[in-house]
């Protein structure tokens, strides 16, 4: 907000607003009062933004917190991407069963909590952002470090805004507002955002260090609006309110107070949310067909099992969460046949990899691969029952995969076929 007052680290234009640091010359030494070689960044522009609250110290403090939150989002998002599209070197454990639930819950909660920080950070540098596109300014670029810094700032601002906006639209399922497939572009934009952030840190490190270590001068006159601490407090309080209002989609005890959460872990067929209905998937008729059989293809033989035959096999009950990539999660008690029993039945072993195929057609989530750590886990089930009752058709009737520590999109529903093969 403009019009707020606070403290300025030094008189006049704040020091961090001057000049540009070079990466290759010894120019990161303290300002000894040397004559300026570059003109001040538009004094007229600074006058248009008279808030004394803007300072390198405030921007640095916001930047440090925002950088940490973006770092957490990037790492947890990277994990989620690798679990869904694993590289050859990637390995993800089956235990603890709640690990993905935590990492993805943290990803979404941190992303939402970072929005107030991003807004405050943009506000704190807004006058300088306005300087970016002017041709006059661009012609003053003195070395490649300045050029990189300016481009990286532009890229960083755009990428950060795109990431939080698309994230909010995605959890509210407003896909049409984006017009593109969210998952891939959120992932690649994250690389750009964090890359631009690292470049920005590299260029601005001396400014940040100096701003955070310099003593704060006493106020010349009492503020009439928010102080620096007041603004930081307001940003922190807003992040806390946003978190409490939304995190109940994964923290069940807070479900009652999280009135802005896009899911309620208590609401859905059989008291559990779903992300795709049988009608939407186009499987309502084929899944209810009494002639349905689960085909299990293995290295030694192929078998076809009816519901009655599956129900007659040894059943296991396990409490496992459905953890959606959109950040919500909910645990429930599932009963079914351990996948490893079916693997053994067709000649597979502990090192086998299983591809589970849905009756659903034309969806990128119609099949998924279960790697050996999960396929061999005793609680990875071909589930027939949820909370003691037959599966609701929206939960995957006649049977579905439920495995520990996997994203919900990989817990394939309405199964028609299992293919057991080598993990190699």
């Amino acid at each position: 907000m403009i019009g707020v007052s606070g403290r300025r680290d030094v008189a006049g234009v704040p020091p961090g607003w001057r000049g540009k640091p070079s990466l290759f010359r010894k120019t990161d030494l303290p300002d000894f009062g040397a004559p300026r070689t570059t003109p001040l960044p538009s004094l007229a522009l600074m006058k248009a933004f008279p808030s004394t609250l803007r300072s390198p110290r405030l921007t640095s403090q916001l930047g440090v917190w925002l950088g940490a939150m973006f770092g957490v989002c990037f790492l947890t998002g990277f994990l989620s991407h690798e679990i869904q599209h694993p590289a050859s070197w990637f390995w993800w454990p089956a235990t603890p069963v709640w690990l993905y639930r935590v990492t993805q819950g943290v990803h979404v909660a941190t992303g939402l909590a970072s929005i107030p920080l991003l807004a405050a950070k943009l506000w704190s540098v807004f006058p300088r952002l306005l300087n970016l596109p002017t041709v006059k300014k661009w012609t003053r670029v003195k070395d490649w470090a300045q050029l990189i810094e300016r481009i990286s700032v532009l890229v960083l601002v755009a990428a950060a805004i795109v990431q939080v906006t698309s994230g909010v639209l995605n959890i509210a399922r407003w896909y049409s507002a984006m017009g593109f497939f969210f998952t891939d572009l959120h992932y690649w934009t994250a690389w750009i955002a964090v890359g631009a952030l690292l470049v920005h840190v590299g260029v601005k490190l001396p400014v940040v260090r100096r701003a955070l270590s310099a003593p704060v001068r006493p106020l010349r006159k009492p503020p009439t609006g928010l102080t620096r601490r007041g603004l930081l407090g307001a940003v922190a309080a807003t992040s806390a309110v946003v978190t409490v209002a939304t995190v109940g989609e994964t923290l069940r005890p807070l479900a009652g107070v999280s009135v802005l959460a896009d899911r309620d872990p208590r609401v859905g067929p059989q008291g559990l949310p779903v992300n795709a209905s049988a009608t939407e998937a186009g499987v309502r008729t084929v899944a209810a067909d009494p002639d349905w059989r689960l085909e299990v293809v293995g290295p030694a033989r192929t078998v076809q099992l009816s519901m009655a035959e599956l129900a007659a096999m040894k059943q296991t009950t396990a409490t496992l969460p459905i953890s959606c990539v959109e950040g919500w999660s909910s645990a429930a008690s599932w009963t079914g046949v351990p996948l490893r029993d079916l693997v053994k039945m067709v000649g597979g072993d502990n090192g086998s990899q299983v591809t589970v195929v849905s009756l659903q057609q034309g969806s990128r989530y119609a099949s998924s691969v279960v790697d050996p750590p999960h396929a061999h886990h005793p609680h990875t089930l071909i589930a027939l029952r949820l909370r003691g009752e037959p599966l609701h058709i929206d939960h995957g009737y006649p049977c579905r995969l439920i495995a520990p520590d996997r994203p919900g999109v990989l817990q394939t529903k309405w199964l028609g076929r299992l293919v057991v093969g080598s993990a190699a």
Binding site: A119, S176, L198, L205, P269
Partner: protein, 161 residues
């Protein structure tokens, strides 16, 4: 940073490469960052990142925030500075900031374009009511703080014994 011209004893350093640990760390950050951007732009993400719906979205939301939302918040802040008494001004400023952000975050759910009749467990709440509830709590907190400030100002301080 400013030039070292005119700084006593610093002339000779002007064009010498800085070999300090900090300088190397900075170079490392820049190179790692450029590598990440290059990986996305010219590696795996090249095809997806160049699609027109994505580029359109990038331009729209970036300009929307920088040209519309931020200037609007500056205007509101300026107005608060003019009309709100000094006693309540910081609290009103902070609360307006919180209100704007909470509304922006809740708006997609409140509008409900992501609702699907076949999927009642998605967006299951009344988000307009939820938003008003959250804002009521936030503004109730703000009102309490303003009252506390008024009471504190009116209560004369006891002389120190």
């Amino acid at each position: 940073m400013t030039s070292l011209k005119g700084v006593k004893g610093m002339k000779g350093l002007k064009n010498k490469p800085d070999m300090s640990g900090t300088a190397w760390a900075r170079r490392g950050f820049v190179l790692a960052g450029l590598a990440m951007i290059g990986f996305a732009l010219f590696g795996g993400g090249a095809a997806e990142l160049s699609t027109s719906p994505y580029l359109k979205f990038v331009v729209e939301v970036t300009l929307g925030v920088l040209v519309l939302v931020l200037p609007l918040s500056l205007a509101v802040g300026w107005l608060i500075g003019k009309v709100v008494p000094v006693l309540a001004r910081p609290i009103v400023q902070g609360t307006c900031l919180a209100t704007a952000l909470i509304v922006m975050i809740a708006l997609p759910s409140v509008l409900g374009f992501g609702r699907d009749a076949t999927l009642p467990s998605a967006l299951p709440r009344n988000y307009a009511t939820g938003l008003w509830t959250v804002l009521a709590v936030v503004w109730a907190g703000a009102a309490t703080l303003i009252v506390v400030r008024i009471v504190r100002r009116r209560t004369p301080k006891e002389p120190t014994k």
